[in-house]
Amino acid sequence: MSATLPTGHRRIDQLEMRGIVKRFPGVLAVDHVDFDVCSGEIHALLGENGAGKSTLMKMLYGLYQQDEGVVRLNNAEVRIRSPHDAIQNGVGMIHQHFMLVPSLTVAENIALGMKSSRGWRLDLDLVSKRIRELSERYNLKVEPDIPTWQLAVGEQQRVEILRALYRGAALLILDEPTAVLTPQEVDDLFVILKKMTADGHALIFISHKLHEVLAISQRVTVLRDGRRVDTIPTEGATRLKLAEMMVGRPVVLEYERPEVTVYSDRLQVRNVSALNDRGEVGLRELSLSVAGGEIVGVAGVSGNGQHEMAQVIAGLRPLTGGKIEINGQDVTGRSPSVVRKMGVAYIPEERMIDGVVKDFTVAENLVLHDHGRKPFVSQRIFMNFKAIRDACQEAIRAYEIKTPGPDVPIKNLSGGNIQKLVLARELARQPQLLIAAQPTRGVDIGATEYIHRQLLKERARGTAILLISEDLDEIRALSDRIVVMYEGQIMGIVPGKDVNIRQLGAMMAGTPLDKVAEMS
């Protein structure tokens, strides 16, 4: 019989996964992986997209079944066949996409799927009372009676953690928990996590952000291509070492940014307003400019207008006010095709939806825009497939795209290689202005490095680049100037050199630059 936690639930002294194997059709997703975590410990699980981190953890949480291997909890073998089994065994999980039902209140979300103490009637008052106790103890401020769709992302995450604690999670799996948080919110989360481990909880922290792993964990396990590379103590590990373990070869984390000639403003956005998909104001009186040879990074927590801004500039979303000029010419309200003819290239945020037609071949996707132009047509109406295929072969070689050939459906390629193809298509037009929205999201380190180098090459060529990213490291590594957005407005514009991360964080949380300057 093991000890109990302050939440009153049974403690998990040790959980062990041994020889875990998971096969999907055609893929060995997890290949004989061993993993363990102890009470009071944060064990980080590090790896690139597709390395098998999430798959491994989904097995622990009963969302998948392993094909081989055993799970031992406090030295007793357990079979976890469903999330219900996992919860029964004290295993909780905070998913990357939050698992909340928007119309339900915080208390209802937490009561969902649990037995009511009043049998067939809900006991939401008791649930709320217990929520308040737990939120007090772990400093997880949240109001039980508010519908969760009204909550900010950080608050939603607190609800998720509360729910796991409420259900007696002694072991908590956190799947990329910092992806949607501001730096301050990350700090708050880390305080909460430390409090939990001090109380004897065991935590598994899935991430691909090296500095966070170094800051919070006691041990790190690195996965690559479904195999465990190694498990090492965090103390003594470095970013470079972890990155090399992840990728399997030496990597570069910082780039040289040579001084380049800066031309005149290529893009002028003046007082632009627009609605978001829900019909609310998404952009308010936004103004910014990008010059040739300059990378302007747009930072901000997801959903603060970055997406709308990229679409407005690309001509994909109507404006409700303001003006957009490209090379001094007014393109306000013009169609995407006109905007593209002005020399604008666009790497969209959702590459599988807006970037490529996933059932088309690699070659077809390469000429999605230029298919009507020479040399891809002959006699004005017939497509010249040979020219298209040749151009594709050339792009595959130049951009190091890993594909069996030009004629396979693009959906068979990895995220990084699809993104390289989008990049090849957009850069082939020698753009004046490049809008790159989340260019490396879900892309492995190797491809990320490649894409970054291409962006810097374009900068040196004199292209104006608007880089929209939720990855602050990426923004800081590449940008000449950094724009921070919050609720559709610009909080401030700062030089990219020697930027103060706390300052950025404060702006991302909604404090304008002048106020931030006053505070410090």
Binding site: K58, Y61, L63, Y64, S82, P83, H84, I87, M93, H95, H97, F98, M99, L100, V101, P102, S103, L104, E108, N109, A111, L112, G113, M114, K115, S116, W120, R121, L122, P147, W149, R163, R278
Partner: protein
């Protein structure tokens, strides 16, 4: 003339006319709140109407008639759930299949087993002692002189609201319809929840049919419902997936219908087609202008797949 059109008897008729709508729509609401659209309600109603009627005709027992309608609806609901939930078929199309099956099957059974138009005595009105005598505004006549099924249908409005909002099962229904992945991750058996709601919906559609054939009209003929089940589906949207909204919608419909019947009864010469159209026009307008409320089950018509998000 206005007095004739707004007589208590007209509103009393509206209460009776609302009964099949309430049964069918409230049942359909449970399915939709859990994420399953069943367009085959009308077919299930026809089957329920037939078996309810036939059982009463043979056994002369109203209780057995109601039971037969419920069981018929349950079986139709089970089939619907199997097609929509287990086989994950396109719900809009498979619902039409269910409807056509019910339409054809009930007609075939009617021709083989009954043949010529017959009627049954069916449910008689129950006067609620005391209350049915209230003269003021005709309250007694409007509300308290109806057959048992009318009372049951109206009682189901608050009962449904209670189940949906105040019970753990209601919570599971709402979660399954809005974020089934979340419900699954919280240990809710989404498949089971959807099966149950669709079967409840089937039973209530069966009862809706019986309320026509053994209480309201007391006859059975081919296509007895004449598309009433489709209106019931529309009413769920109209009512924004809430029992009170459905009640308002059902009453709006049935009051207009009752007035229209009265118009032809007192022989006013305006094309009755206009009055018949009116409720549908109102529904379309209401659907166009309806705000995007958070109650909407966003996973409606989407089959559930574990691990996909």
């Amino acid at each position: 003339m206005i007095e004739q059109l707004l007589a208590p008897s007209v509103f009393a008729a509206a209460m009776r006319l609302a009964t099949p709508y309430l049964f069918a729509s409230l049942g359909e609401m449970f399915g939709q709140r859990s994420g399953v659209l069943n367009l085959g309600v009308d077919g299930t109603m026809l089957m329920g109407a037939f078996f309810g009627f036939y059982t009463v005709m043979i056994t002369e027992s109203l209780l057995l008639g109601v039971l037969a309608a419920l069981i018929t609806g349950l079986i139709m609901g089970l089939v619907t759930a199997f097609i929509s939930v287990t086989l994950k078929a396109e719900q809009g199309i498979s619902g039409i299949g269910i409807y056509l099956f019910g339409l054809g099957m009930s007609e075939l059974l009617y021709q083989r087993l009954i043949g010529t138009p017959k009627s049954v005595s069916g449910f008689s009105n129950i006067y609620i002692p005391g209350l049915s005598d209230i003269e003021f505004l005709g309250i007694g006549e409007i509300f308290f002189r109806h057959n048992l099924l009318v009372y049951v249908a109206f009682a189901l409005v608050p009962v449904s609201a209670f189940i949906l909002n105040r019970t753990p099962f209601g919570l599971m229904i709402r979660a399954a319809g809005q974020n089934p992945q979340a419900a699954d991750a919280m240990g809710v058996n989404v498949t089971r929840v959807r099966y149950i709601t669709v079967m409840i919906g089937g039973m209530m559609a069966g009862l809706a049919g019986a309320s026509l054939s053994i209480a309201l009209l007391k006859v059975f003929q081919q296509n007895l419902t004449s598309g009433l089940g489709f209106i019931a589906v529309a009413l769920v949207y109209f009512g924004r997936w809430r029992p009170l909204g459905i009640l308002i919608g059902a009453m709006l419909f049935s009051v207009v219908q009752a007035i229209q019947l009265q118009i032809s009864a007192i022989g006013i010469d305006i094309p009755s087609e206009f009055a018949v159209m009116l409720p549908y026009v109102i529904t379309i307008i209401a659907l166009v202008f309806a705000s995007k409320r958070m109650e909407k089950p966003t996973a409606l018509t989407k089959p559930f797949e574990r691990g996909e998000s």
